[in-house]
Structures are given as C-alpha cells and as structure tokens.
Symmetry: C2
DNA sequence: GTGGGTTGGGAAAAGGTTTTCTCAGTGCTC
DNA sequence: GAGCACTGAGAAAACCTTTTCCCAACCCAC
C-alpha cells in the first residue's frame, strides 16, 4: 500500500539532479529550471506538476553549479584575529544572523597574527569565490595581518582598523563613555574618576576624552584619568591611588572604568576597604561582559557596545555592496547602550 | 621599459581562467590543465612554459568548477549552539587549524537552540555540498536541535552528545577530576571536598564519581559532593557550608571545584574568612578559563580539557571519513591536563 | 616498407544549472 | 484563408575544470 506522497528523505545516496526531475515530469531540463524559478512561460498546470515532482524527489539545486554560472556564491568570509574573543563572538553571531536568512553562509577564518595564515585563508576564500569579506579583530585600532586593499570583491571592516577608502563600522566609544558619565551626573554624583587600560589603545583616549568633555560641559573639576592595564589587579591598584589618601573629602563618589575587569577589581577593592558600592561610590564598567558584570557584588552597570548589532550592520552593508549598491566609504560609528544594574544606586532624594 | 616578470596583482577584474592561460601559452586547455596538475605526458619544456604563463597571469583555478567535477568541495560545516561560548571557541580554533593546511574551509553555523535555524543551516550547507559536518555545542550531554543522523555526508560530534552509531569526541572528565584529586594527594592534602554545578549535568556526576573513586582508592573518608550552580555565588555559599562549623578540625584542606567560577567564589570567600589559600586550603578549578584562573588571588590551578586539541582531532577524523577511510563509531575520550598555578602550594616538607 | 610501440598533445564529455534563442502550434483579425 | 501575435516548451550555449580517449608523428626492428 503506497504511503501518502511526501518528500524523499535526504538519505538518498546521490543527490537528485534537475535532469532527473525533468525526466520524471516529462519535460526538458530547461523547462524544469524555469518552472522551479518562476521564470519563463508555461501553463500553471505544467509548472505545478514540475514543482510537485521536485518536491516529491526531494530535489535541491546544486549550489556549486548555480554559483559557477551566476558568479555569485552566496558565501562570505569572516576574517578575524581574535581567537578566544569575547568581542568577535557576538559580532560573528550578528553577521551570521543577518546573512543566514538570505541564504548566505559564512566562512570563519582565524588568522591569529600570522601573515602566512592570513594569506592562506584569503587565497582559499578567493578560490572559493566568496562574494565578499568581513574583517574583524580584537582591536579597533589595529590592522589585521592581511592586505585586503586590492581585492576584486567588496570588503567591510567591523571593529578593526579599516584600510583607507574602505567601509568600516566601529562602536562609538566616546558616546558610550558619555552615557556612563551622564548617568552618574543624573544620579547626583559629582566627583567622577576614570580608570582605564593602557595608553596604547585608541579607545582609551576616546573614552577618556569624552569623560573629560562631559565633566567640563557640566562645570566640574577635570582631572587626569588613571591608565594602567585591562585587569582586575589594576582595578585594585587604582583604588589604592584614589582612596589611599586620608582626606575623605577628596575621594571620588563615582568611578567610570575602561572595562568590566577593571571595574570588578575596583568593586572588590572598595569592599575590602569597607567603602560601600553603590552607597558611597558608584561604579560603571565597559563591555557589558555579562559573565563578569553579573558576578560582581553588587552586579555591575556597564556600557554595551552592541557588537551583535554591529555585526548585523556589517553583514547587511557587505550584502548591499555585493548587490552592486554603491556605498560611501568611511567609518561609521554605532551607538553604545548603558545596561543598568545595581552598582550605581538610585537618584538622590 | 618592461618590469621584471612577476605575478599580476589580484586586482585584475575578472579572474583569469584556464582557457586564457592555455591561449597565452599556445596550447589547449586540456594540456594546460595537465601541465598544472602534474598529469599527462608532455615535454618538460612545455610543462614549464605553461606553468610560467599561469604564474605570470596570476591564474588560480576556480574552486567551484573543480568541486562540481570532483564532487568534493573542500569545505566543511561547523554546527554549534554555543553562541558566546568559551568552550566552542577553542574547539573551533582547533578544527580550523587542522583543516586550513589541507585547503579546507569551515562554514560556521550558529543554530542557537532553534530547530528552524538548525534546519536552515544544514540545508544551506548540504546545498553548498560541504564534504562533512562537525557538530559541537555547549553541553556534552545534550543534542543539538538538528537531526544529522541520515545525511549522506560524514558527521563527527565533538563536545556534544553524538547520535547512536556516530563518531563522538569528548573530554575525559573523570580523568581530569582524577588529575586534580591526585595532585592534592601528592601535596599531602587529605580532606578534599568537592563543590560542583547542577546535578542535571552529566559531567557533574562523572567528575564527582572520579573524585570519590580516588578518595576510596587511597583509603580516605568519602563524603557527598556539594552540588549547586556554575557560579561564583555558589562558591561563596559552599564555603559557608564547609567552613561554617566551629570545629576547625572538620574543615577540608582542599577544595576541588567543578569549574573556575565556583573556584573563584571559593577563593574569595575563604579570603574573606581569613583562611589562607594555599596555606590552609588548596583549591583547584575546572576548565582552565585563563581570564578567570589568572585573576584569582592566588592564581588558580585548574583542569584544562584541551578543547583545541579536541577540535583538531575532530577535524582530522572528519577528513579521514571524507577520504573514505572507515572509522569505528563510538565515543572517544581525550585526556585533560592539569595547569598548575599557585592555589595549591608546594609539597609537604 | 610494414607493423608495433612510444611520445606529445588535442577533442570532447562530464559535472548541474541558467538563460537565450528558436520553433511549432494556436487563436485571432481582416 | 492569409497574415500575425502570442503561447508553451525545447535545444543549446555558457560557467570552468578535469579526464578519458584518441590521433598523428616518430622511432625502431624485421
């Protein structure tokens, strides 16, 4: 007894070809192709019959053959040097998310900091005829160890230093810093210190400058940021510098930190000194690395760079480039957002 | 004045085809193909001339056309549901590392926990004729939300629950736990507690059982593990349970933790109680998540699951499957290693 | 000088799909 | 009933490479 017609299981040994569909439906491959793609002219009946046959046989067009002909592989490369990166991961997720619905798959290529590896990956992708490349990395102010400037396919840079004349998407670090400092001000804090990472990072300066700007705009005393490392240990050390002096009046009532690890160190060190967060001092971090931000006591308010949105935007930008839409080169900054937890307390009474 | 012959820049608009190389060298495409692939018979002079022409023109064979013919795309898919995962990242790095030298590129597919997304990605990869699939995830005891059991291409499972009859690679959690407990014993510790994650995780039981086994083998008193959450907060709580009793003689002199976050909580809580690590109590974590393990005070000794090796092995296993080498199905466990830092102290005098 | 072996290289098919061009038939108008 | 427009569908080229098969030419021995 024949069962109800339904698609054949994928397990059939060699994939079903269009030729087989055409034969089964009693038409030519040309007609079959047109029926399935909604092209050409034929009776609705014929088109439907072919479609039904294809469905029954579990036909799926061979992407390789399509790509060869259309000169479009529905494939892009994602180049990164951030192996274990908590930055590039959400970014990749965003890219993949933006593209999967359009049938575009993503080659992930980790080039470390190795020129040879970069070359290898780029050539492999070019050979496989990727439609475009997204370059990303662990630092916004460093180039990948690859030259992407003279490729014949479009390239979009996300969260990494773009080549001149290329399209780059980065987070708006200054804007993010403003968010943090202005949040402190709204809560009535007035003596806002800034503890950040090494001076060799561009983002350190961008954030510090914004911090200073907001203080100045509000007529508050400016001071120097404390620059050190991206570590908890540096957070501890900075607390010693800030709160070491006997004169309590000179103590800050808020600390804006360059990343969440520093903030964690700051919070821990403050607790060890018996200084209450958020009652005595408010703390804000940067990166919104949830696993850290949620483990601090109290949980940490932090600036989120919206990296997955950034990834989405990069994916979409690349796609429209691939489709031939011209796009203005230059760097586009995407806004950050503040994720409020409990390390700043509420507004003043 | 003509410059010295060198490969044309990649920037040339449409890629150079074999036909163009053949024309330039004055031979047929067949001969050109054979010359470049070391096939067929021809004078050494002819072969060299063709090769030189190809080099000059910057010819690179179109992978799409090759794949279509050879039915081998030099492409594999990596399926994961671990979006922000610190587990799957090193694993991916290992996979990619094992494959890039063989010219194989990796499609990264994040399926979240979404059946539809999984289906979408698998179909896209099948359409693109990937040679095989590696499935990985965030939990060793859970399936991905995709059915990979009847595909016509090989599948290898790494750090996720394999289908019956498939090939799976996982970490040897019991072995890793032994490493930790035996390290404590070598250092003269005798009262070794175990604080781990939720009972719903298979690895929790595997590690706890190994911990108990080693204690028994050494004639030490067994006790119940403390099961809770994978969090620092639970580490704090567990310290309260273990060290809350007045009787100091009942206190453990070592705590083996189910992951590094718990260990961090334990270390912090011990310090807050004035109990010294490692002098009074040794602590070992699991996962060797460097960013955590190196930030604890003192830095944390931890069990590393060698995930990037695991990824490498998975990549190689898949490749030999693709090459038609039969492989015995079943689960293969890869050894862990202990990374010694300063949270256990030295051996007894 | 004929038969057989070797050498260097080309013609053509194959892989699966899309697209352009062509063509036979049908129904309509004048 | 001739011309015409349109309809439905197929043939074949194209994408680029690999591989099998074939052929012409040459050399050698008998």
């Amino acid at each position: 007894m024949p069962s109800a017609p339904e698609p054949a299981p994928v397990s059939a040994k060699p994939p079903v070809t269009l030729r087989e569909v055409a034969a089964a439906a009693g038409v030519s491959v040309a007609t079959a192709s047109k029926a399935l793609n909604g092209q050409g002219r034929m009776t609705a009946e014929t088109r439907e019959r072919i479609r039904e046959t294809a469905r029954l046989l579990g036909f799926r067009p061979n992407s390789l053959a399509q790509s060869l002909l259309r000169k479009r592989s529905f494939t892009v490369g994602l180049l990164t040097n951030d192996t274990y990166g908590r930055f590039s991961l959400p970014l990749m997720a965003g890219v993949s998310d933006a593209l999967v619905d359009k049938g575009v798959s993503v080659f992930l290529c980790n080039v470390e900091d190795d020129q040879r590896l970069g070359q290898l990956h780029v050539e492999a992708m070019l050979d496989k005829r990727v439609d475009g490349i997204i370059a990303t990395g662990k630092r916004i102010d460093r180039h990948l160890p690859v030259d992407l400037s003279n490729l014949r396919i479009p390239v979009v840079y996300a969260f990494t230093q773009p080549d001149p004349g290329a399209i780059g998407l980065v987070s708006d670090d200054a804007g993010g810093a403003r968010l943090a400092v202005e949040h402190f001000l709204r809560l009535g804090r007035r003596r806002i210190a800034h503890v950040s990472g090494p001076a060799s990072f561009a983002v350190v300066h961008a954030r510090a400058q914004a911090w200073r700007d907001v203080l100045k705009e509000n007529g508050l005393a400016e001071s120097e940021p404390l620059l050190g490392a991206w570590s908890e240990a540096w957070g501890h050390e900075a607390v010693e510098k800030l709160f070491g002096k006997a004169d309590r009046e000179g103590w800050p009532d808020a600390v804006f930190c360059g990343n969440d690890q520093i903030a964690r160190g700051v919070i821990d060190a403050l607790r060890e000194r018996g200084i209450s967060v958020p009652d005595d001092v408010g703390v804000i971090g940067f990166d919104n690395w949830e696993i850290v931000a949620e483990a601090t006591r109290p949980p940490l308010t932090s600036v989120d760079m919206n990296l997955s949105t950034l990834g989405r935007e990069a994916g979409l930008a690349l796609l429209s480039l691939v489709d031939g839409q011209p796009a203005a080169p230059g760097i586009r900054k995407l806004p950050c957002r503040l994720v409020v937890r409990q390390s700043c307390g509420g507004p003043p009474e």
